[in-house]
């Protein structure tokens, strides 16, 4: 792991009490979100938040053209003609130049959905955003701040009310991986690294994989705590995150897939054994699916054999965590 070495090279610009003198404007931004049976009001809220962020950034002359690209993996279109028109009107009132809506007609997953939308990516930056997110008014401006350093490949927003427990460098923000619940990526990174590995990661860890590939390509992955995004997560009365059965399944599948792809076959095997005998049916189902792909020879080709970027902790995390939501 080379986190310390990488961040150390950047210390000249981030001095205590000051911000970078020049932050290049976001020349043009494509904002992508992928729907899957969104809760009522989610899309409207998403657009309202983005509208605030666009208005504030435009007010400071830091933002060029903005295209909001909405993909839909639902079984029936989540937006009707009327609701799309209302969403477009609301977006345009706040300065979002273009809104497009693609109903995929199939559940491509988060990674597959974003990849489908990225086919049309022409802008200077892409912002990945979850549909149940609500951008803070300064989110775009704050996400742009670390981009003065051309080696920054991903800037991740801070999620509230449940902050991600991933550790990050308190001075420079460098972190193991970035959640694409809200993350800004310059075009050059997509050109260099490619898109999400949708074949291996349907719903989870597509962003971990993308982050690690980004770092393998020599870019920094930065967490920006002042770039706030509200992510509509809930807690159980035991203080745990509310997760659906599908989330349990895909998280287990992604864990095995990530271990395999990042050249940790023993870990992948250990996970496979554990999930195979788990009392949770989602785990057993994921194990079965992984085993089938193993037999078919369709698992991804392992990379990062030296373990330059990949991190696998005993608690099952892909970065050092300050705390765990499972405590």
């Amino acid at each position: 792991m080379t986190l310390e070495g990488e961040t150390g090279q950047s210390s000249r610009a981030y001095t205590e009490g000051s911000e970078p003198a020049v932050v290049g404007p976001l020349t043009s931004v494509r904002i992508q979100t992928v729907l899957f049976h969104p809760a009522e009001g989610d899309v409207g809220r998403l657009v309202r938040g983005l509208g605030n962020a666009v208005r504030v950034a435009r007010g400071q002359d830091r933002l060029g053209r903005v295209h909001l690209a909405i993909g839909d993996c639902s079984s029936v279109p989540s937006l009707t003609v009327d609701s799309l028109e209302a969403v477009t009107r609301s977006a345009q009132n706040d300065g979002i130049d273009q809104v497009s809506f693609d109903f995929f007609g199939a559940n491509l997953g988060s990674a597959g959905g974003h990849n489908r939308l990225l086919v049309q990516f022409k802008e200077g930056f892409v912002l990945f955003l979850n549909p149940d997110a609500f951008a803070s008014p300064h989110m775009l401006l704050e996400l742009a701040l670390p981009l003065w350093d051309e080696r920054v490949g991903i800037v991740e927003a801070r999620q509230v009310p449940l902050e991600h427990p991933k550790d990050f460098d308190p001075v420079f923000g460098d972190t193991s991986w970035a959640s694409t619940a809200a993350a800004l990526v310059p075009r050059r990174v997509i050109e260099s690294v490619g898109v999400f590995d949708a074949d291996a990661f349907f719903l989870y860890c597509d962003d971990v994989d993308f982050s690690w590939r980004t770092r393998l390509a020599g870019f920094r992955v930065v967490h920006q705590p002042t770039a706030r995004v509200f992510h509509d997560k809930r807690l159980t009365t035991e203080g745990r995150m509310v997760v659906s059965d599908a989330e349990v399944y895909y998280a287990a599948e992604a864990a095995m897939m990530l271990a395999w792809k990042y050249s940790q076959p023993e870990l992948a095997a250990r996970l496979l054994r554990g999930f195979s005998t788990s009392p949770i049916s989602g785990h057993r189902k994921a194990a079965k699916s992984f085993r089938a792909r193993m037999n078919d020879g369709t698992l991804p080709t392992p990379i990062d054999p030296e373990g330059r970027v990949a991190q696998f902790f005993e608690d099952g995390n892909y970065a050092r965590h300050r705390f765990s939501y499972d405590d």
Binding site: R48, V56, P137, T226, K233, R234
Partner: protein
């Protein structure tokens, strides 16, 4: 007019209160005092003794004849036809200067009171500035309410419930009627009678001071607002400036008013608190940012933070500057300004989940008027410095839910087990019951209000986690860290002493909780030998402890059984006693 309205002027009567206000507010260079609905004119002589010219107007000839015989000017008018009455009054006044107008015990006889009040403002438009002094019975006297509760409504020949009254006034009703008619209150000298003319029959328990029932009603009524012991409102008004119309009085407010206290020091967390509010799934709320002792510059910053959100949100956010006082002051300012059906407290370092408002709103639909309580969660944070030298914080623990999922009043009397961001209070508790945050308390002001409102309104649990209370570690400036232990103890004692000084309303089935405590105490007492040392007979100790547990379990079972509800307290008390006796 019958003789029953012939009252004499004397000290200690409502008439003295009226004359006192006329003396205080009369126009100095004018000499005429008009008495609208004068009856027998009880105040005529004392006003003449002041050097004033008294003119009485009434529909009833007998009172007018009596006044005329006593040497006073009179004219007959029918106030129910105010358009016809006004020219007569103007003519009688002529060009003389008008020092004051009085309406004593008249308004309550008029079905067109507001029209008459408006007309009085036009009697002498050229003279201007004359005050109007009104005396009107108060139907919200404690005696009336206490009797109504036991099914008594005693109409009498004269007095507060005079059989000829057609309009009934509370303090607020009088304010609204006068305000709507173009009068603004400038002084008051209410006539107070602890025992009104309705204080009968003498043996009615609800009227007897010292009975828990009366004392409870009395404390509720006294807290609820002015007028508990006022027999007649005696108030002076001026038409010099039209009272401002009451903004929004008739337009429904939002469901929730969010009171956000801030000292403008937590730039990082307040942005997130606002963000979380703007992201709520229900936007049926307003936000009052109560900036406590905040400089003008920082007020501007707060306004900017709100304005960064779109008009659909920022239009519902008000930044209110509050100067002076302690932690309670901004909250009291907030409840005065709040328009919502419910009021919730959200400090500038707390944060809420997306369904905070929605959960309150949904629950209030089925438990309207009760406190709506969610399951509180807390998370450790500590201050830090973010990129660029900005003050921030870092989260250092997973969220926990250390507080009970369900509200228990007895538990909450021991200590506060619900942080303020996890409940919504019915605004009626403030607007109608007159509850306010105790400005003498430097801490636990929220616990004090939670208890007082819970005792009056009850609590409905939602069973959902909707808010995160931030627990600051080293370097934070939360009240927990700033105030000393002694201060906390002192405030807690003050809250309990205040509650203990008055009768309290405990919700149904509280007796079970008390019996539970009592059974624990008895079991513990039984574990002690006669000399006060603990018994070393472990078998005995364990069996007694088991008995206590058994009784608690039985009580829980009984509490959960709806078919037992009606007679539960009696049966359970007997059961516990018998079991303990047998073991005794």
């Amino acid at each position: 007019m019958t003789e029953r309205y012939r009252f004499a002027y004397s000290d200690g009567t409502v008439y003295q209160s009226v004359v006192s206000l006329v003396r205080q507010f009369r126009v100095r260079d004018a000499s005429v005092v008009i008495d609208v609905g004068c009856g027998f004119g009880a105040v005529a002589e004392p006003l003449r003794d002041e050097g004033l010219t008294y003119i009485g107007f009434d529909a009833d000839a007998s009172g007018l004849a009596d006044l005329e015989a006593r040497g006073f000017e009179v004219a007959q008018v029918d106030l129910l036809d105010i358009d016809a009455a006004l020219p007569t009054m103007r003519k009688k006044l002529g060009s003389r200067g008008l020092a004051a107008v009085m309406m004593i015990d008249t308004l309550e006889h008029l079905s067109n009171g507001a029209d008459v009040l408006r007309g009085i403002g036009t009697i002498a438009p050229d003279h201007g500035g004359y005050p109007l002094v009104i005396a009107v019975p108060n139907v919200t006297h404690l005696d009336i309410g206490a009797k109504l509760l036991v099914g008594r409504w005693d109409v009498t020949e004269t007095g507060i419930l005079d059989s000829t009254h057609v309009a009934f006034y509370s303090s607020d009703g009088l304010r609204k009627t006068t305000s709507d008619s173009g009068w603004v209150e400038i002084g008051r000298n209410d006539f107070v009678l602890r025992d009104s003319d309705q204080h009968f029959p003498a043996d009615a328990i609800s009227l007897q001071r010292g009975t828990p029932l009366h004392d409870l009603l009395s404390s509720v009524r006294a807290q609820a607002g002015e007028g508990a012991l006022v027999n007649e409102f005696v108030r002076a008004y001026s038409a010099l400036q039209r009272a401002s119309s009451e903004v929004g009085e008739n337009t429904p407010g939002p469901f929730l008013s969010v009171l956000m206290r801030t000292q403008g020091k937590r730039h990082a967390t307040i942005q997130e608190a606002l963000l979380a509010l703007a992201a709520q799934t229900s936007q049926n709320f307003e936000v009052l940012i109560l900036a406590h002792d905040v400089s003008r510059d920082k007020l501007g910053d707060l306004q900017y933070l709100a304005d960064c959100f779109g008009e659909d949100f920022s239009g519902r956010v008000r930044v209110v500057s509050v100067d002076g006082g302690g932690r309670s002051r901004p909250l009291n300012v907030g409840v005065e300004l709040a328009q919502g059906q419910y009021v919730a407290l959200l400090d500038d370092d707390d944060i809420v989940f997306g369904h905070w408002v929605e959960t309150f709103e949904r629950s209030a639909d089925r438990a309207s008027g009760q406190i709506i309580r969610c399951v509180p969660a807390e998370q450790d944070v500590r201050p830090t410095t973010w990129l660029g030298g900005r003050n921030g914080y870092t989260t250092t623990s997973c969220p926990r839910c250390p507080w009970p999922e369900r509200f228990d009043l007895l538990d909450h009397l021991l200590e506060c087990r619900t942080p303020p961001c996890s409940y919504a209070l019915p605004r009626s508790a403030f607007a109608d019951l007159g509850i306010r945050f105790d400005e003498k308390l430097s801490v636990v002001e929220d616990w004090d209000v939670l208890l007082r409102v819970a005792l009056m309104c009850g609590v409905a649990d939602t069973g959902e986690v909707t808010a995160l209370w931030r627990k600051w570690g080293e370097g934070g400036d939360s009240s927990k860290l700033i105030h000393s232990d002694a201060e906390w103890r002192q405030a807690r004692d003050a809250v309990i002493a205040k509650l203990d000084s008055q009768p309290l309303l405990f919700p149904a089935r509280s007796l079970m909780g008390l019996l539970q405590l009592q059974s624990r105490i008895e079991a513990l007492n039984a574990m002690q030998d006669e000399d006060g040392t603990m018994s070393d007979d472990w078998e005995s100790l364990l069996s007694r402890a088991a008995l206590a547990d058994e009784s608690l379990r039985a009580i829980e079972v009984i509490k959960g059984s709806t078919s037992w509800k009606l007679t539960t307290p009696i049966r359970a008390a007997g059961w516990v006693r018998r079991r303990l006796d047998r073991r005794g």
